[in-house]
């Protein structure tokens, strides 16, 4: 234990002497969250639209009111005919036009079926699909209010259920936590372990009568602590600044984070056991872990939309499981019994990789 303490102390000294790295490690998460939260937000407010209300009855007026009151849309024009809509797209730069048919109220009460047409400017596909989803959500609410006798053609978007405002910060926060943990835990520990091999100090440590596990654990723990601090910072910012809910237990959330930290550390250790230089450690961690995690974990692109091969491949990277687990805890309020499988997968990944890298280190002696 004295040896472990000494190695930990040494590692913390390295970290505190390298002020720039320390600053980056602690400041980057904060910058990332604020950046994603404020600028790369995919929420759209006050999108300019046209409404062609052919019915002009009380129900259609209520619907238009609902649309304007939602805050997502600003009706800039009320065209009188469909041909005018075309001009609105060109001249008034509207993103979307909604056409409410004749006899809206009548159809709603007697036919119990109404078709509402939406015309979107799909030159920006993301904006178009987000706006479409907003309209669908508003129509859904509208039919609910109408006591559910009518069926407005609605496709249900499951994501809307737990994030009704489709608040994109909620989607990005789990992704940012994942990437930060991979940078701070996996990248930093693989680089720092590779550095010891590169400079020859690893040999000095291994030649000493100290347990090899202590050498690795002692080097990895400080970075786990740093990434834990970053994770808590990200969570606090997203709750305080962006009002992100934590519907489930905070302790469960922290437990999931700790397990993912172990997994990241194990990936970092495993990578460092394969390489001899810091550059190799960095390249492999970035190309082999960071990038696939960013692309395949479902944080930037939905896994369901990927080709089958990539859907299978996504399972190999821990990010996917971690993101599912924390999203469930934060947004759905899932409990331990709902997410134990994801935690187990992460834990097994950590255990297997850690064992393999210790065995490999032992062979090197």
């Amino acid at each position: 234990m004295k040896e472990l303490r000494q190695i930990l102390r040494k590692e913390f000294t390295h970290i505190f002497r390298d002020r720039i790295t320390l600053f980056l490690v602690l400041a980057i998460p904060i910058m990332l969250v604020l950046l994603f939260g404020f600028t790369i937000s995919t929420d759209i407010h006050h999108a300019t639209i046209s409404v062609l209300d052919l019915a002009n009855d009380s129900q259609s007026k209520t619907l238009v009111e609902n649309i304007t009151a939602s805050g997502y849309f600003e009706v800039v024009s009320y065209p009188k005919s469909e041909s005018e809509i075309d001009h609105d797209f060109k001249d008034k730069n509207i993103k979307l036009a909604i056409i409410i048919p004749n006899n809206f109220e009548e159809q709603l009460t007697t036919d119990k079926f109404v078709t509402i047409q939406i015309i979107s400017d799909v030159s920006d596909m993301n904006v178009a699909s987000i706006l479409n989803n907003y309209v669908k959500a508003i129509l859904h609410d509208f039919t609910d209010e109408y006591n559910g006798t009518a069926t407005v053609p609605i496709e249900l978007c499951t994501q809307m259920m737990y994030n009704p405002e489709a608040n994109s910060v909620y989607m990005f926060v789990p992704g940012i936590i994942t990437l930060i943990m991979i940078i701070v835990t996996a990248l930093m520990s693989s680089i720092t372990l590779a550095r010891e091999v590169e400079t020859g100090t690893m040999r000095m440590l291994l030649i000493a009568p100290v347990k090899k596990a202590w050498v690795v654990v002692g080097k990895v723990i400080p970075y786990m602590i740093l990434s834990f601090i970053s994770t808590i910072t990200i969570i606090v910012i997203s709750v305080v600044v962006f009002q992100m809910p934590i519907k489930g237990s905070v302790w469960l959330l922290l437990l999931v984070c700790v397990i993912f930290m172990l997994t990241s550390a194990a990936f970092g250790t495993a990578i460092s056991s394969l390489v001899k230089t810091q550059i190799d450690a960095m390249m492999i961690t970035m190309m082999g872990l960071f990038l696939p995690t960013a692309l395949l974990s479902g944080f930037l692109f939905p896994i369901d939309n990927m080709p089958y091969f990539f859907q299978i491949l996504a399972n190999v990277f821990p990010g996917k499981w971690f993101i599912i687990a924390i999203k469930d805890v934060m947004l759905k309020g899932s409990g331990f019994m709902d997410i134990w499988l994801y935690m187990l997968i992460l834990f097994l990944m950590a255990a297997v990789l850690m064992t393999l890298s210790l065995i490999r280190l032992d062979k090197r002696r």
Binding site: K2, E3, Q6, I7, K10, T13, H14, R17, D18, T199, G200, T201, R203, M204, L205, L206, I207, A208, P209, V210, K363, R364, R365
Partner: protein
């Protein structure tokens, strides 16, 4: 065939290193090919050979950093195959590559390595300051290692390797790249350690240094070609310097 080594206690012997048929293969390539030799206690043993002759591999096996493919060895009275931990406690090691931490101070480096060798805190502090005094570095204990010259670093590495008072110290090209004055000072440290009964196992490419050794061996292609005192070897090969012995043997 295994020698009947006693299991836990160090074997009391005239020799501090006994090697029999030690071999290391990396796949098809035999880096060290059945080498056998003995090193007496307190001897300065020079381990020579061209680059790639297998010296470093042999040293790494003797330090129990690398598992031998076959053969056996007793190091500091312990069996390499069964007592690697005990061997580690009783040997010191220093490599050609400077291997202390650049971003730690001299004192922190020595404290780290002293502690992981299990030296108590108070005792360690005394030992660190007395060895810094010997190196005339006592006022530099708080200096970062990155800011001291290479010659000092090498002497400091040696002092660090000696902190836990090992029976044997392995020096893998300890003086490569340092100036002649520091080399002389370094060899004074080696002599002083040897006079205290520490066995010195040293590799070098400087043939004048080979002349300082009690006995030397020459390795080529993984095999131990020659072993003896510098005088013996020169007489045997009928030349007047170790350099000529070396060149004659390595070229052959």
């Amino acid at each position: 065939m295994r020698l009947p080594f006693r299991q836990q206690e160090a074997k009391d012997s005239l020799y501090s290193i006994e090697v029999k048929g030690l071999t290391k293969c990396f796949g098809e390539f035999t880096a060290v090919d059945h080498i056998s030799f003995e090193v007496k206690k307190g001897e300065i043993f020079g381990f020579l050979g061209a680059n790639g002759a297998g010296k470093t591999t042999a040293i790494r096996m003797l330090c129990s950093l690398l598992q031998p493919t076959s053969g056996e060895a007793m190091v500091a009275g312990y069996d390499l195959a069964t007592q690697p931990k005990l061997i580690k406690r009783h040997i010191g090691y220093m490599s050609q590559k400077f291997s202390l931490y650049d971003d730690l101070t001299i004192f922190e480096n020595m404290q780290l390595f002293g502690t992981i060798y299990g030296i108590s805190r108070k005792e360690l502090k005394d030992r660190i300051f007395s060895s810094l005094e010997m190196l005339n570095l006592e006022d530099k204990s708080k200096t970062l290692v990155s800011s001291i010259p290479l010659g000092w670093k090498q002497k400091l590495s040696f002092a660090t390797a000696m902190l836990h008072r090992p029976d044997i110290v392995f020096l893998d090209e300890p003086t490569s790249g340092v100036d002649p004055i520091v080399r002389r000072e370094f060899w004074n440290l080696i002599y002083e350690a040897a006079s205290n009964g520490v066995t010195i196992f040293v590799t070098t490419h400087y043939m004048d240094e080979a002349e300082y050794c009690g006995r030397i061996s020459i390795m080529a292609n993984g095999q131990l070609k020659l072993i003896g005192t510098p005088t013996e070897l020169k007489e045997q090969m009928q030349v007047d310097s170790i350099e000529k012995v070396f060149v004659k043997y390595v070229v052959r």
